[in-house]
Amino acid sequence: MNDSPMNGQLKKKLDSVFRDIETDVSDDGRLTIHATKESVLTVLSLLKDEGWSFLQLVSCVDWIKQDEIEIVYVLSSYVGVEDGPDAKGEPYAKGEPDAKRESILLKTRLPRSEPSVLTAIHVFANAEPYEREIHELFGVHFEGHPRLTPLFLDREYKIPPFRKDFDTEQYVKDVFDSVPPIDEES
Amino acid sequence: MSLELLMVVALGGSLLTYVLGRVSSRLRNGFAVLVSLALVAMVASLYGKALHVSYYEDFLGMSLVLRVSGLSWLFAMTASTLGCLSVVFSLSYMKGKERTSFYYSMLLLVNAAMLGVVLSGDLLSLFIFWEIMSWSTFLLISYNGGPALAAGMKYFVMSFVGSLAMLAGLLTVYGSFGTLEFGGVAAGMLSASPGYILAIFVLFGVAFGTKNAIWPFHAWLPPAHSEAPSPFSAILSGILIKMGVYGFLLIIFVLVGLRNFMALGADGLPLHTVLSIVGAITILFPTFMAIMQNDAKKLLAWSTVAQAGYIILGISFGTSLSVAGGVFHFVNHAVFKALLFMVVGTVEYRTKGVRDLDSLGGLIKKMPLTFAVALIGVCGLIGVPLTNGFVSKWLIYKTLILERSPFLALVALFGTWGTILYSYKFLHNIFLGQLPEKYKDLERAPMTMRLPMTVLSIVVVLFGVLPGIPLSVINSIDTSFGLKPLNVTLWGLASDTGALNTINILAAVFAGLLIVWLVLKSGGRKVSVDQADNYAAGAAIPKDKYQYSVGFYAPLTRMVAPYLKDFMDSFYMRLAGWVGGLGSGIRRIYTGYVGDYAMYIVLFLAALIFVQLTWSPW
């Protein structure tokens, strides 16, 4: 576990500022932060100030056994955020464009029954389509989102299609296989 | 059938319609149609006669004379037929509008004044009827109120300047020759010095130029035409503008005589080339302006200015072929331009006043006859073979090429392609494309509108296929001007330097149409398809949003618009603004206190005494 100073420094700062988060560094040196529903926006804005100013994407995982839905924010930065060796081992100064930039994962767990969280648009404006997609396909409600209208799907689904308890084979049987083939004789 | 009776019927008819309007509108409509029909019959019966009668003896020691010649008969005939057709057209156009009896009487008054101008034998009666015409035109242009008032005022100021110029010319002629009759003036002119003739020509040229809306004086025409009620703008654009042409023909051929007109102007730059250059500019610049317009009547107004350029180009060359081309083009333009304005009037009537080219479309499905008539009118405007426009333009082009002035021919021919662009935009944006939802249940044009349009379209095709009929009349005008007559056959012109034979063209086109139609019929089954069943890359057709007519020639507009600033119009506007400023400056003198006025008198007297003491001029 190459505890690169960049993650270490940030890890210490986050632990000191926030009570209700745990941070751990995966074996390939990527920092993962688990935050609660309430503190996730403050962590996001702090990371943004720290230099992680690019929200790559917002994703979602359906933990059906723990009866929870997890929202994952993947952040990265355009410029080197801390001093330290870059990919080729030469030292890089803070602010260097081609510095090694790991992406940071910020995860938060929501109850599966009625998952809802504050929208991240005020911090990262480009989160809007991702949140809209998650709302449509996972049924997560984002308070404060300007338009949670349908993005891809053109019809109503009782259970949002990407959830694990959505039985696709059954749906295909009901909707597509129920269509009768054309019988030529009549 | 004396001329006085004709004038009495014309003028009396217009006054009587106003009175009858008080009694009942139906009676007035019938009477108006009756009067105009009677006028047409009376003028038709004058064909070939050379009457000369003075209807008022000693008006300031002169006798006012009415006369009819070949030229004035043609103008009178066109004016009366167009007047009658537009009265019939406005029967249903004016239904439900207020002040209709005023409108009808003014319409007939304009008609009568035009006949007066054309039939007058001396300059004074010409001037009198000219003023009546200008006045009634101003009242009719500003009939709709609002922007029409401004357009009417602009028209009135410019034609007022023109009338002043004519009055000045009239006085100088009376001063030097003592008589105003055409014969006397023409005799006087023979011995006049070229400078004097040039001055007279310029004065009358300004008067007739403003009325004919040639390039420098065209500023009033587009707003006036688009604001006037459609039946009247049909007359205004068709025949009233051409009174300027009649004036030019009068000066060049009757008063000044062709020889010294050709000799006029500095040796390097003869006047007739200046006139033809002005004509060429009048073709090119308004054609591109017309391409830019998206108001149907403004587009047609600019097209009128452009077509007037063709006529001036024809007249200014002074050979028998060119004058025939110019006069024939005047008749054709009167016919198809009135037709096109009536088409816009019909569309306006049915769509409750909409004439913006960006919000119409697909009306061919609801008004097929109006489209057919508009197509014939547009073909005449462009000059497609087998229509009347083609023959007159063919004459003009032939003179331009054979007189070895290819650059003017270039402008004229290039103007034709410009005409195609804006007339196709006119047809496409109104009749073709997707029919908007709100016009789904539009009915066809009413009978009283369809009749005049069909008559005019028949004339367009008739003069195109058998040009011999009008050309023989024009030949008699050529001979009356002392030019060599053309050897006219019924279907064109037989001449060594390239003949025109419309019957061959007709036979060829008809055979071609027949063959191709048979080939099409032999093909597979034809299924008629609704406008919603259209190719849109698999998507269904959105209602009201699948029409391309806004910014129809956007790339061309982007290229040409910066060079098209109408600097003559802005010059007039600046001039008007300057005069307004001067006027308000002077108004400050009238402060309204009697004391100030008393002071002015005392000061003035003091100044007089002072002048007397120092220089003692008395």
Binding site: P161, T168, V172, F176, V179, D183, E184, S186 | A537, G538
Partner: protein, 185 residues
């Protein structure tokens, strides 16, 4: 390839004309579309058999449905098929139009294209190669010769069923039925 046998031209001119000028609709659904450009350009040159891409369905008589048909694309496929002029032929390209292919259990991909529009020929394979298109074209020739490429006749004959299936999957369609059921039999 009996294009230059004159006797055939005199015996059945319509069939020969359709065989040797198959204009394919330029309609790209699913993943198979990447196979079309090499087919019509230098490497395989479909033009020597008279097969060229047509700009609009109005000009075309061959409809190549290349790849999976999602529910939304089905709407466009039906619309394009109905806009093509009569004798028209359709070829399903790849395994997805046949039975849904690897998207058999997807919630937004239809399984059997055959239920919605008539198909004259199939090309199996998960994105078949351009040679497979030529095999399909030659098969289509034999079908046309034997009058078996009668997809458009079947569509007209059983239009009611086709329309019902379309409406069952797509819900309300924005365009009116192509054939009024009582008029066309």
């Amino acid at each position: 390839m009996d294009r230059n046998q004159l006797t055939k031209w005199f015996k059945a001119p319509t069939k020969m004309a359709h065989k040797y000028s198959l204009h394919a609709v330029y309609f790209c659904t699913g993943c198979g579309v990447i196979e079309i450009p090499p087919t019509i350009t230098a490497r395989w040159d479909a033009e020597r058999f008279g097969v060229i891409p047509a700009a609009t369905p109005r000009h075309a008589n061959l409809f190549l449905i290349t790849g999976y048909v999602s529910v939304k694309t089905l709407r466009a496929v039906i619309r394009t098929y109905e806009q093509m002029p009569e004798p028209k032929f359709t070829v399903g390209f790849g395994s997805c139009p046949i039975n849904g292919g690897m998207y058999w259990d997807s919630y937004n991909t239809i399984n059997q294209l055959d239920k919605y529009i008539p198909i004259d020929g199939w090309i199996a394979g998960c994105m078949p190669r351009p040679e497979a298109i030529f095999v399909a074209v030659t098969h289509l020739w034999t079908l046309i010769d034997k009058d078996m490429a009668d997809g458009y006749k079947r569509y007209r004959k059983h239009y009611a069923q086709y329309r019902a299936n379309q409406e069952q999957v797509l819900g309300e369609l924005e365009w009116p039925p192509l054939f009024q059921s009582e008029r066309e039999g």
